[in-house]
């Protein structure tokens, strides 16, 4: 299996404060990785650094997506190269209709990859199929992006975007936060449909419960800005029992 995401000794800071301290991670195609860890361990920072959020600066090391250096790409180029970050708190975009947004995103990515744009009827058909899987009302998609959506609806909308854009690497940043059990099942079902031998998935989460629905191949424990332990899916269960306390002391 080829390495899809390769992070080597990555150090990164926000406003001069170092958050990631020599991060190493390799995700191969077809794998699902879970990154778990206490609050403040830099889990969201990792996702923002990879996606290129302004203000998050790589000071040392490398992050490669399918061999290409992410730090050399703009945010939209990373997305077109196949990186998708499902936000913990998806933003509301007043005045921009969801369908307009989906069309703009999909076609911008296709254009950048030298592919043909998707026609409007095809796009609408595809979005309808996905909305059905995610138990979403099409009426919602006629509204501005995420405006007036509940927490669960926002996560469904993020999952729909991910399924439409078909990225190579999906990073889910605490997708379970704010989800009730029904929404958790629906969103997990969507993510599981994305599992494929050509794609990698990184699930960032606090809790085991999401991993009941999305079974990871590899589980990592992150603390103080780096990975301190790696194991199989049983590691998540162990964490549920023992908590993160010992890893916090280890990292310190």
């Amino acid at each position: 299996m080829t390495a899809l995401l390769e992070i080597r000794d990555l150090k990164a800071e926000i406003a001069g404060k170092q958050i990631l301290n020599g991060y190493d991670l390799t995700v191969k195609v077809g794998e699902v990785h879970a990154i778990m860890g206490p609050n403040g361990s830099g889990k969201s920072t990792l996702s923002y650094v990879l996606s290129g959020r302004p203000g998050y600066k790589i000071t040392e090391g490398q992050a490669l997506l399918a061999g290409a250096d992410l730090s050399q790409m703009s945010v939209d180029e990373r997305a077109a190269a196949g990186l998708f970050l499902a936000f913990q708190y998806p933003l509301e975009v007043p005045g921009v209709a969801t369908m307009t947004f989906l069309r703009a995103a999909l076609n911008a990515q296709r254009k950048k990859r030298g592919e043909e744009e998707m026609s409007s009827p095809d796009l609408i058909k595809r979005v309808k199929e996905l909305a059905k899987i995610l138990d979403m009302d099409m009426e919602m998609l006629r509204r501005p992006v995420n405006v007036g959506f509940s927490g669960g609806e926002k996560k469904r909308a993020e999952t729909l975007q991910m399924m439409l854009l078909e990225p190579k690497l999906c990073i889910l940043d605490e997708t379970d936060s704010g989800l009730d059990i029904d929404a958790l099942k629906v969103v997990s079902n969507g993510v599981n449909q994305l599992r494929s031998k050509d794609r990698g998935i990184v699930v960032i989460t606090h809790y085991q419960r999401l991993l009941d629905y999305i079974t990871p191949d590899v589980v990592h424990v992150q603390s103080a800005g780096r990975i301190v332990r790696t194991g199989g899916k049983e590691l998540a269960l162990e964490l549920e029992e023992t908590g993160y306390a010992r890893y916090q002391s280890e990292a310190a």
Binding site: R53, D76, L85, V93, A108
Partner: protein, 442 residues
């Protein structure tokens, strides 16, 4: 016994002297009644001269400094210019009844005045004045009390325009679009229109102004609207003037009981633009919605000055203006709400929002309230800001390039005022115009 104070006569500017000269030459033209109106207006203008920054209402648009010379009054344009105007018209996708003026002159061959709806009358201003049309003679210069030098100049020099009447109870579905295309020569255009919407009648009026980028010209336009009881008018004004053009327009409306006015102005181009509105709410239950959007670049300057005069009870006014400013462009918003004694239950709201796309752009907002009744709701506010960086990041994280993300968010910002336009085909055409203009930045 003291000496009478000696006020030295102000030295006229070159432009003022030239205006006086032109006025003296054409003063005797036209019907005596009209000549009297023109003379009174020019006398009123002469008292103050061109407005300047010391006049509160013109503080941010100093016409005395900006109007250095006066271009000759428009002469009839050549046929070739009229032909080229056909393709130039804005909003060609809208199935409107077009009344076209080229170089300040009515162009019947380009206009569509056949098969007028029953109860609708449209004639050129010159024709109405030549005929001594009773409605024109009664209302022109008389719709509201406007003490303003630019409007006075328009009355003194008014050349061409239209007189429209919508008969009582008549509903005219097809929008009437007045297309004013500047001519090929440097010129000054004094355009004047009058619209009377009689009791319970309804119509949509579009005024669009456009001109050549390379040409220097001045437009002084004025539109007076009379809304009788229960009448309704949706008015849209689009200015896409040439880059060296100056455009000053005055809108005067009088609203009778339960009438409705919806006004939307879009400024897409011109060196200096000033739209001033004087809205007289004279009847109870009347409703005025005034909206506007400026999309400016380079050194463009656009000024929206509103005066909302609530003189009747239970009336409402809503004003929302949005500006998108790039480079070193400048937008001015001045809005005054006056609630007269007895105008109880007035509900008046005014808001100006500005989006700055560059550090050199500038917004000046000055809302004013003057209230002489005690049971009213009045509010005003203004905001100035930049695009939200987090939203740009969110859109880019989905693959949308930065410039496109900025355009989408900017269109969304302007969209709020366009979405309120009632006529769907007009609304779609306006959105397309705005989108095209914003994408041209990329």
């Amino acid at each position: 016994m003291g000496n009478a104070p000696i006020t030295p006569a102000r030295k006229l500017t070159d432009a003022e002297a030239r205006l006086a000269e032109i006025f003296a030459l054409q003063q005797s033209a036209g019907a005596p009644q009209l000549s009297k109106l023109r003379t009174a207006a020019f006398d009123a203008f002469s008292k103050t001269g061109l407005p300047n920054r010391r006049d509160e209402a013109w503080k941010y648009t100093d016409l005395r400094a900006l109007l250095r010379d006066v271009k000759p009054l428009a002469a009839p344009p050549e046929e070739s210019a009229k032909q080229s105007a056909r393709s130039a018209a804005l909003l060609t996708n809208v199935a409107a009844r077009r009344v076209v003026f080229v170089g300040g002159y009515f162009a019947p061959a380009l206009s569509d005045l056949g098969d007028l709806e029953k109860g609708l009358s449209v004639m050129s201003l010159s024709e109405a004045l030549a005929k001594g049309d009773a409605a024109a003679m009664t209302h022109i210069g008389n719709v509201g009390e406007v003490d303003d030098p630019a409007f006075a100049l328009n009355t003194a020099f008014m050349g061409e325009g239209v007189v429209i009447r919508v008969g009582a109870g008549v509903c005219v579905d097809r929008p009437i679009q007045l297309v004013f295309v500047a001519g090929a020569q440097p010129a000054t255009y004094f355009l004047r229109s009058l619209v009377i919407v009689e009791k319970g009648a309804r119509a949509t009026l579009i005024e669009s102004f456009e001109g050549e980028t390379a040409q220097e010209y001045h437009v002084n336009a004025a539109t007076e609207v009379v809304l009788e009881e229960g009448a309704s008018l949706e008015r849209l004004k689009i200015s896409h003037e040439g880059a060296a053009a100056m455009h000053v327009s005055t809108f005067v409306a009088s609203l009778a009981a339960n009438s409705q006015l919806s006004d939307f102005g879009l400024n897409l181009g011109g060196a200096v633009l000033r739209n001033q509105s004087f809205i007289n709410i004279n009847g109870p239950g009347a409703h005025a919605a005034l909206r506007g959007a400026n999309i400016l670049k380079g050194k463009e300057h656009a000024d929206a000055t509103l005066f909302l005069d609530h003189a009747a009870e239970r009336s409402e006014s809503k004003a929302l203006f949005k500006s998108v400013l790039d480079d070193s462009s400048q937008a001015v918003f001045q809005g005054k709400i006056l609630v007269r004694p007895g105008a109880q239950k007035t509900d008046a709201r005014m808001m100006a929002r500005t989006l700055l796309l560059s550090e050199g752009a500038q917004a000046n907002c000055k809302p004013e309230l003057e209230i002489f009744a005690d049971d009213v709701q009045c509010a005003h506010g203004s905001t100035v800001g930049a695009l939200d960086e987090n939203l740009i990041f969110y859109l880019m994280a989905r693959g949308i390039p930065q410039a496109e993300a900025q355009s989408l968010l900017t269109e969304a910002f302007v969209g709020e005022v366009i979405d309120a336009v009632e006529n769907r085909s007009v609304r779609d055409a306006l959105s397309a115009l705005v989108s095209e203009r914003l994408r041209a930045r990329q």
